[in-house]
């Protein structure tokens, strides 16, 4: 009867050790999300950091690589931003395809594949989101991309305000939107981390005199602005030309104007604070939707979901859905739209044209997959 304490003592120690072990494993898993993704830029890209455009960012979690390719012949400057929302993998991958395949005979190409690096250091396990997605390359190696969160890591944005008052306009949004890069433009130099990041990106657009800038996104199939271009009024004529050309290529895309009264978004604020032609694009991604079933890496890569088949049959979706939304299809849409935009830039900005070569065609990406256009990278870590 009196020997019980000894048993409890042992149990307590065991449980303590077990919980330490679990904490250790979880912490390791959490910390490993801090390791940056590795890219293999095509020849001629110079690697800078965003903090070179806004030094206070240096050494902070918001700093992120900026890759610049300068063409021999002078022309305009194009910026491609992936990873504003790191749950929208097609945006990161489309930016990566340009970074790893483009040669630039004329003008300049700037690629920021991980726009909000602070949103890549955590994910949403309760949504069933995977931590990473993988692509098997021909040479037997694997490319790994983090699947982050829509929002900046809590550790960078704590505490949230109750209400986020957009500093430039006084617009009121839910407090958590202060962690959303695409609500923080044009940014604040001494604001929250996400506001500072937004400020740095606008500084880059200004200092590099960017002519045409893309912010790449994905959205759930039940969201009305999907398979879509959203254009600032200054970009509207170019966007109209591109919409028609894409339609001719068998890629129907919706063109929507950037609302003047919806503040903090790239397609509004980039255009209002600089001379750039801003373009935001969305593809349809069932892994972001509310109707989805089992959520895992497979869903992110294939977009196959039974519930979406039903929703499509009921006419509830804003994209044609025939059982999947392959990552290759979503990336091909972004890549092709960017290519067509760039091809027509000269028409609206004489003397500011940009020539890109080596960019895979729509059909090529569909047939061969995204992995065919990703380059092997030095193996840095096992994940």
């Amino acid at each position: 009867m009196m020997r019980q304490p000894a048993a409890s003592w042992k149990t307590a120690i065991l449980l303590l050790l077990l919980s330490l072990f679990v904490a250790f494993v979880a912490a390791r898993d959490f910390r490993v999300m801090n390791a940056p993704d590795v890219f293999a830029p095509a020849e001629g890209f110079a690697r800078k950091m965003l903090s070179e455009y806004f030094p206070p960012l240096k050494g902070t979690t918001a700093d992120t690589p900026v890759f610049i390719r300068e063409g021999k012949e002078p022309g305009g400057t194009v910026l491609i931003l992936g990873g504003t929302h790191p749950v929208e993998s097609a945006g990161i991958l489309a930016a990566t395809l340009f970074l790893e395949n483009a040669s630039v005979p004329r003008g300049r190409l700037i690629v920021i594949p991980n726009a909000n690096a602070m949103a890549l250091t955590h994910n949403s396990p309760q949504e069933g989101h995977p931590q990473r997605i993988h692509f098997a390359l021909k040479d037997g190696s694997t490319r790994v991309f983090r699947y982050g969160s829509r929002a900046t890591n809590f550790t960078d944005e704590w505490p949230f305000p109750e209400i986020y008052v957009h500093p430039a306009s006084g617009q009121k949004l839910s407090g958590k939107e202060r962690s959303n890069l695409n609500r923080c433009y044009p940014g604040v130099p001494d604001g929250s981390m996400t506001e500072r990041l937004a400020f740095a990106i606008v500084e880059l657009i200004r200092k590099e005199k960017v002519d045409l800038a893309f912010d790449l996104h994905e959205a759930s199939p039940e969201y009305p602005v999907v398979n879509a271009i959203v254009a600032h009024e200054r970009s509207m004529e170019l966007a109209a030309i591109v919409t028609m050309e894409l339609e001719g290529l068998g890629i129907p895309i919706r063109l929507e104007p950037s609302p003047k009264n919806l503040r903090g978004l790239s397609h509004r604020e980039w255009g209002d604070s600089t001379d750039v032609l801003p373009i935001l694009m969305e593809t349809g991604n069932p892994s972001q939707g509310r109707l989805r079933g089992r959520t895992d890496e497979r869903l992110v890569l294939t977009g196959e979901d039974k519930a979406y088949v039903k929703a499509a049959a009921l006419g509830r979706l804003f994209i044609p859905y025939e059982g999947n939304q392959l990552i290759a299809y979503r990336v091909a849409r972004h890549v092709t739209a960017i290519r067509v935009f760039v091809e027509n830039l000269e028409m609206v900005r004489p003397g500011k044209g940009v020539t890109l070569e080596g960019i895979p065609q729509y059909e090529e990406i569909l047939k061969q997959g995204v992995e065919a256009f990703l380059k092997p990278v030095p193996k840095k870590r096992e994940v």
């Binding site: 254009a231 966007a239 109209a240 950037s258 003047k260």
Partner: protein
């Protein structure tokens, strides 16, 4: 003195708005503030045809021979223009009435296909289509016969097109018929 100044101001304003295409024969406007009107403007440019384009064109501004109204509702577009659906319909009714009064030919176009149908767009279709002299409708836009029904009495000719770029052919034909040669 006042009247001279007024005329001067009016001329300045006109020059500002019209720019190089001061003498255009075609007025282009939107019904519903979707970007579809911009696409038609691009098609016209490709055809080498000048048009005075103003998505919010008012009846007073209408001095051209032909009025092209591109129908397509966009709540974002209406929001961007700072107007609501009813104000847009009121503007269109006044504009269409002025066009009829000035013997301006009216071409109504719906280029957004099935994607540019729905409650909002349908209200603009209902407001504009009956007043048109001719219609160009991209495939899918008239799948349920809305344009056919609205123009039954007038027997308005409806030209089809496979997609936005494809409206160039019927557009060219109609403009030629109305005395505007295109490339």
């Amino acid at each position: 003195m006042v009247s001279v100044r007024k005329v001067f101001v009016a001329v300045c304003v006109l020059l500002c708005f019209a720019g190089a295409s001061f003498a255009a024969d075609i007025a282009l406007t939107s019904a519903g503030q979707s970007p579809d009107a911009m696409m038609v403007r691009v098609v016209l440019k490709k055809l080498g045809v000048e048009a005075d384009s103003d998505p919010l064109m008012k009846p007073e501004g209408l001095t051209q021979k032909i009025l092209i109204v591109v129908i397509g509702g966009s709540s974002k577009g209406l929001g961007a223009a700072g107007i609501d659906k009813d104000q847009e319909i009121a503007r269109l009714s006044a504009l269409l009435k002025a066009a009829a009064g000035k013997n301006v030919k009216i071409l109504a176009m719906h280029v957004g296909g099935e994607g540019r149908r729905g409650k909002l767009s349908d209200e603009f279709i209902t407001a504009v289509a009956p007043a048109a002299d001719k219609l160009v409708v991209v495939e899918g836009g008239n799948a349920d016969g809305i344009f056919t029904n609205l123009t039954k009495e007038k027997k308005t000719p409806i030209h089809g097109a496979p997609n936005v770029s494809g409206v160039a052919a019927p557009l060219k034909e109609i403009l030629a018929e109305w005395g505007i040669p295109a490339k």
